[in-house]
Symmetry: D2
Subunit: 301 residues, 4 copies
Amino acid sequence: MPLTPEQEAEIAEARLHPRPTLRAVAEGMERHLYLAHPVLDHGFVRVIDYMGDDAAITQAARVSYGRGTKAVSNDEGLIRYLMRHWHSTPFEMCEVKFHVKLPVFVARQWIRHRTANVNEYSARYSILDREFYIPAPEHLAAQSTVNNQGRGEPLQGEEAQRVLDWLREDAARAYDHYEAMLSREGQQGLARELARMNLPANIYTQWYWKIDLHNLFHFLRLRADAHAQYEIRAYAEAMCGIVRDWVPLAWAAFEDYRLGGVTLSAKAVEVVKRRLAGEAVTQETSGMSKGEWREFEGVWG
Amino acid sequence: MPLTPEQEAEIAEARLHPRPTLRAVAEGMERHLYLAHPVLDHGFVRVIDYMGDDAAITQAARVSYGRGTKAVSNDEGLIRYLMRHWHSTPFEMCEVKFHVKLPVFVARQWIRHRTANVNEYSARYSILDREFYIPAPEHLAAQSTVNNQGRGEPLQGEEAQRVLDWLREDAARAYDHYEAMLSREGQQGLARELARMNLPANIYTQWYWKIDLHNLFHFLRLRADAHAQYEIRAYAEAMCGIVRDWVPLAWAAFEDYRLGGVTLSAKAVEVVKRRLAGEAVTQETSGMSKGEWREFEGVWG
Amino acid sequence: MPLTPEQEAEIAEARLHPRPTLRAVAEGMERHLYLAHPVLDHGFVRVIDYMGDDAAITQAARVSYGRGTKAVSNDEGLIRYLMRHWHSTPFEMCEVKFHVKLPVFVARQWIRHRTANVNEYSARYSILDREFYIPAPEHLAAQSTVNNQGRGEPLQGEEAQRVLDWLREDAARAYDHYEAMLSREGQQGLARELARMNLPANIYTQWYWKIDLHNLFHFLRLRADAHAQYEIRAYAEAMCGIVRDWVPLAWAAFEDYRLGGVTLSAKAVEVVKRRLAGEAVTQETSGMSKGEWREFEGVWG
Amino acid sequence: MPLTPEQEAEIAEARLHPRPTLRAVAEGMERHLYLAHPVLDHGFVRVIDYMGDDAAITQAARVSYGRGTKAVSNDEGLIRYLMRHWHSTPFEMCEVKFHVKLPVFVARQWIRHRTANVNEYSARYSILDREFYIPAPEHLAAQSTVNNQGRGEPLQGEEAQRVLDWLREDAARAYDHYEAMLSREGQQGLARELARMNLPANIYTQWYWKIDLHNLFHFLRLRADAHAQYEIRAYAEAMCGIVRDWVPLAWAAFEDYRLGGVTLSAKAVEVVKRRLAGEAVTQETSGMSKGEWREFEGVWG
């Protein structure tokens, strides 16, 4: 259970009292506010605040394009047009703030996205809780044999058991020593900023993370992708569900043009055109490397 | 009058119907929503949307510092502490979106602040309105004789009149030709993206501008400063009034530590200490250049 | 002629004396250093400094991927792999600084790219030169009749002449008044920060503009595109030639995957697959809007 | 020893062959190029590349301020003027790229500075080395009793020994299991992206880190400060020595105005003025909180 009873009570309290506002309100997002979506074994994502909705995107676009945009008769068409033509600034007009609880190794991947605002729990200042990510059996995957950066099938039998035991025991012992280094009867106590370095990367941390919709889409395109590490993808997928309810029109355009979209190189365009003209193109006659050809065939057969 | 009757009606309509939300609501900001604050002769600033309030700042800080922050008993003390120690990320948790109408030469200064989101009216796509900034007599200032980058007293008499006439006539003629180049019976019409280049820098443009509170404070510190050009300062001051109502505690801390604050160099600290010890320090014995000494005396006499 | 004889002499002088360095040196870029590439009637682009070369990109990638990257046997293959898979950070390891002289209306488009460092000539501090962009006859284009944001054929005959006369006369008069407002015998002189507002958007300004290669590629993809306004495209194309000589492998990958690449939506992928399977798909049966279909046919026929 | 003999040989080789360049060359920086400055027990900082020197800063400023800057007769005075008046863009014209080897818990603090380019060694792709930070006895500090976020005296005797033993043993065991989970005869081998999560935060990682001089100064001001955690300060101090040799004039201005500078709130300015006028001000009559007064007395006695 990722939340304490106190936190559950706080969330219930926060959802009790709607207040009047003159701002844009996204009904689909109000339903998510404050509620924790569980992710992994102890993590969660929850929305703390948001600004804007689908209409805020088109409103900003209409400031830019003035009278001209009236030609596009509706919001859906305009949003699809903006997404198709890589107009990023109207999507930047929506903003969202998440509270996320996540393992440190996931946080380290996540933070590579620099265009967001972050307040992370400080282990220099405070003491971390005893919570560690231990993969479920079906996610305890072997190293991929074809991809340096990927996973194969789940480990089985004795090997799986041994790995789980090590992960649990090492985490428990590291935390025991962390606590004992911090304070014990009759000792000075190691500085928190030093003691934390004994903790493994599967310990949970948490942060507030605030980002605009354009940059969030960029994050989701990379992290909800099948090539992303499962553990961060689990967070990205929870956020996809939230964004779908928040800005349904922008989400649909994103799904069509980005998540489901395919980018072809100039060479690949030529090969598809030759195929459309009836030619049987092989890797050898394609001008592509083997790696490119494998990826090309992954889409086009 | 910066707004058309249609715009006035739209604003009145937008303010008619509050809706319930579970988000943080800043009462002081709700009073400003959508309303245009007039700036210069045809410009305005108005709030289109906002996220967060004073409590959102301390809430984010408490995520970072965990139990530790409970030592600071109240929001005001914590916000002052954060501002004093240059903790910027909690202030990034608030966001605001403005609609601004402003002369192009002001927009060119403004846009140098890169950490904001912008949707500007496109003169490539649409036709600009016939509106130009003409300074009021008291702001038609002479070049400063001591500062390359400053103003002296207002121009007087015939010179003032001649300048105003030129500004008005050149703007009117440029706009007449702009219109005539775009369309006239029996002609093809110059592309809008080219015709706009005939327009002077005092023509008005408009944009949506969205920024977080930390970066907004940085903008206001530079642009509400006495050394900023009057025309951009007029906008910054209108925004100061809005921010004061939005996040009164953060504003008070900003006023004390930034707007009213003074930064001393290591050399200047030494001079103040010598003075406190009773020594009469002069420029010659201060180790400062003449320029630095003049600025030092401007604060300390 | 965009440069004064003094500037020409300074450039020649700067190119006279090579000095030894232990840094990476890109021979192709050394040939461009300081030299002005003329753009439009009075503008230019010139390289002032650069950091890194093709090898700097793969070197950074090899830090990231460690021993694993040895599988990719050569720099070219690795650079193509990085570009194909949207790995942006290795390309951020190269940096370039340009000196650009450009009309103000071009500068206003350009500055929308925020991830760069800029030092622009200050018309608040200094006096602008009397130089204005006047389009060559073949670029004095009519408004497109199908695209709000595009150009048609060049204006002809009397209309072309009238437009050119207005552009020239209005610029000349505006500048005469600018000068006269600034200083004239027996007058105070208007502040420079105010006088500049009488100047039209085709006056030339200049700046230093520094950017990393990843963000430069993003700029070039948008601004060297056929839909970009001709005047900014002229600068982008001059820069493309420079980048090609600087990092030839990265350039070739960029040309194949980005400039010549095509992005297909999920819907478009389906249509291409149906066509490959022999089906004759029309707009009606494609699931695309008319606008999308027109763009789709523009690529695929 | 932070470097392997192979790395030492590579560095020696890279320093053997200077090549001619027309770019600005900073002699002080050439002496540092590629050389590793040891930091902590296994870490280092080394310069991989740089762009610009002191003259590049003033050159950019002179583009901005045009003829006006000739009034400032020399580079030193101009650089001090720019630093004093918070002109950041000229300092952004210099760029530097470091290769840093550092413990993960230091990397996590460091990465909070978002305005830099980073390529970090990927533990998803490659296998980390068996290297852990173990504090020297004089840095094995107790938790501060007055500051939640600070250190007291070094631990002594048995407690010190026990902590060191735990740190060493837990790291060794975690790494043994990391290796055993990755591969062992007759097993599938856990995915690298999962196995890494067993490793503690004192394991070393490495990255390329590229940043402009303005943002580097900001980083150094915060991280070379006495309140920064010792371990990151050790890196910041090594970099201070490098920057001093690279841009000596900018460094001197930074030292005077930032590192040695003091910022006073409006209230603090009033108190100093009252003291200068002979008044004996106490906390009670100062209008400051106890915390502020303590900090104020820390500077002014």
